[in-house]
């Protein structure tokens, strides 16, 4: 049967191509660039999937009752007032911080540039914690860029195409972020476990000073995430007799499975680091 034999031949050829693609993807960094251009092919699908959500928001905004709008407006004004009060205090504190840093002769911390971006898709594979945002390298996103939401660190950009980027969340099983305990600056690394509710600190000794309720902030070590943003809150510290390391679980403060508006952070220092890496 001639047709059967050509099917087998084709099967072997396509199988070998696939396997070599997988190996190339694991081995070579150049695949990033190829992927960036190939991803353009699936961008329309990502946009189409987001259409119902977007049109619902659009409709909802236009059909809202006047009273509701007025109430919402009032509430937002109140919130702004509260936020402004805090910002006033913050200005004074920032100045004080600069003065103290001057006294200590330490380098100044520059304010980071922020791009607001919107989530347009999430990965449907439960083993991969990734979201897709509607900023690509055309609007300034770059690989390695930290991503935050209103309440904490979300993750980092792992690949960009012209109009969209993929963000790996901090809870992905492949992700780890350097953190420190806000209370006493104890340093550690928070690993993702592939579950939306947990991060794990694997390298704290049994006697380390860490308690349930401690806030973990990004430590800035590793030069990827800027210093001082909240990452997670410790929810369980388990001391196991006979083990050298304690088992510490923390819950991310960012709303990883809810936030729709995200922030892309850009520090000048980081931009340089990644450009050097690229060269």
């Amino acid at each position: 049967m001639f047709k059967g034999r050509s099917t087998v031949k084709k099967f072997i050829i396509y199988g070998l191509i696939s396997i070599s693609l997988i190996i190339a993807d694991y081995q070579f960094d150049q695949m990033q660039r190829i992927r960036a251009w190939l991803s353009l092919a699936v961008t329309p699908v990502q946009w189409l999937v987001d259409v119902p959500q977007r049109s619902w928001t659009w409709l909802d905004e236009r059909l809202q009752v006047r009273d509701e709008l007025i109430a919402e407006n009032k509430q937002l004004r109140a919130q702004t007032l509260l936020a402004e009060r805090r910002v006033q205090k913050l200005a004074a504190l920032t100045v004080e911080n600069f003065r103290l840093r001057d006294l200590l002769n330490s380098s100044e911390q520059l304010d980071e540039k922020v791009i607001v971006t919107e989530l347009i898709g999430i990965n449907s594979d439960p083993f991969i914690h990734q979201v897709i945002i509607n900023n690509g390298f055309n609007s300034g996103a770059f690989v390695g860029q930290p991503v935050l939401d209103a309440t904490g660190v979300m993750g980092q950009v792992t690949s960009t195409s012209a109009f969209t980027s993929r963000v790996l969340l901090i809870t992905d099983a492949d992700h780890a972020i350097p953190v420190q305990v806000n209370r006493n600056s104890l340093r550690s690394v928070a690993y993702g476990l592939g579950q939306y509710d947990y991060l794990e600190l694997q390298d704290l000794s049994d006697t380390a000073d860490i308690e349930v309720g401690d806030v973990l902030v990004s430590s800035g070590l590793g030069l990827r995430f800027p210093k001082g943003y909240p990452v997670a809150r410790v929810i369980e510290v388990r001391h196991m007799p006979g083990k050298d390391f304690a088992k510490v679980l923390a819950k991310p403060t960012a709303q990883l499975d809810r936030s729709r508006h995200l922030l892309l952070i850009e520090t000048p220092q980081q931009q340089n680091v990644f450009q050097q890496e690229g060269n």
């Binding site: 084709k10 099967f11 695949m31 992927r35 099983a173």
Partner: protein
Amino acid sequence: MIAPRSHNLWVPIVTLLVAFMLSALPMPEWVQWGWPEWVLVVFLYWVIALPHRFGLGWAFILGLLLDLLQGNHIGVNALAMVVVTFFSMLMYRRLRMYRSWQQAFVVFFLVAINQCISYWFQGIGSNASSGLWFLLPAPISGLLWLWLFVVLRGIRRAFKVA
């Protein structure tokens, strides 16, 4: 038939596009675990119905697109789709004779093979482990087949896809 035959190949392509959209739809986490492999199941129907049009080349391209859409390592889904399509091409004549629940059973096995391949190759070097839950889409895709087969056959006959 004397009238010029049109193959209406755009119909399967539209159904595949819809399958892509369904597979990329954002879902709550517990639904994601059991979300059927839409693209694979729809494509399997077209392979069994029109094996002279849809073969390994299509499987490879669709798998690549799925990899790009899901952010997998490039080639993982392509390999899985090619393997599963190869099996179904070997036995499409037998499959056509089966009753629909027997077909659903075969689809269950094919999707399970697909899941194993993509799970193994995707999981190299990561520390995720959640038992055998990654196989959950297989029985659900099998159940989906019972319904999808009727729908797609209706579409194929209505549009005279050949």
